[in-house]
Amino acid sequence: MAKKNGKKSKSSVRPMVRALLSNLFKKPATCQYPFVKAEVPEGFRGRQVYNIDLCISCGLCSRDCPAKAIEMIEVDGKRRPLFHLDQCIFCYQCAESCPRNAIMSSKFFELATTDKSSLVVKPEEKVQKGNGEQQ
């Protein structure tokens, strides 16, 4: 039974007609995200990685943060930055203005959570260095 494709007059085969048919048999251009880890280029602005030893608690980062997402809190006598990840816009102005490069960017972007309190990153909380590990 021929698949009758009797269309009325059509001069050259329209590009859409050919594209549709060819895509039918081509592999779909979908990356299977949750099952295949997404490859993230260098220099991606993911979650901050804060190194407490280099920090001299000068407070420059919280002063320069455009979204005022960094709060200085008292941690055993010294003032340390507390990152509010729900307010942060990941622009990394803090990393630029930090004199001791205590704040580095990481390639970790899966920050979604169902409870808001986990989005406040305290300085003394050991944050995994490197990238891509779950919290």
Partner: protein, 150 residues
């Protein structure tokens, strides 16, 4: 019977998108989910036109004074079991516009929010990860049955 209902609810979460005053950076990442590269239809997620059809309300943008009442009305129009996902720093807490005179700052000031996805804008993969985490958070209903059996 309720196991089947939960399975169906997890497998076909219909989505409604409302932009309550965003810079549409998060909106274009959200619409990018429907396109071939990310294609959330694999999980059965479909963008629905009317609040009556939707289960999950994806809200982007720091809620402005004018949008607040509209957001509340849309939330009320959605049938039960409904969930709300706040996408982007603006929806989670008002982001860079927090404190402005016309901005309420955060969706949870108007309607209860089930999942937060920070980022400005979050990568499409991060939004998928957020929705998957929201759906997983509904699953524990099953183990609670095992406790009942014990």
């Amino acid at each position: 019977m309720s196991k089947l209902a939960t399975w169906a609810r997890l497998k076909s979460p219909w989505v409604l998108h409302f932009n309550s005053g965003a810079c549409n950076g998060c909106d274009i990442e959200l619409v990018a989910l429907l396109t071939p590269k990310y294609d959330v239809e694999r999980f059965g997620i479909k963008l629905e036109p009317s609040p009556r059809h939707a289960d999950v309300l994806l809200v982007t943008g720091s809620v402005t004074q004018q949008c607040a009442e509209r957001l509340k009305r849309i939330y009320d129009q959605m049938p039960e079991p409904k969930f709300v996902v706040a996408i982007g720093a603006c929806a989670c807490s008002g982001g860079i516009f927090r404190g402005n005179y016309d901005v309420l700052g955060g969706v949870d000031k108007v309607i209860p929010v089930n999942a937060y996805i920070p980022g400005c804008p979050p990568k499409p993969e991060a939004i998928i990860d957020g929705v998957v985490k929201l759906l997983n958070s509904l699953k524990p209903e099953k183990p609670s049955k095992e406790e009942k059996k014990k």
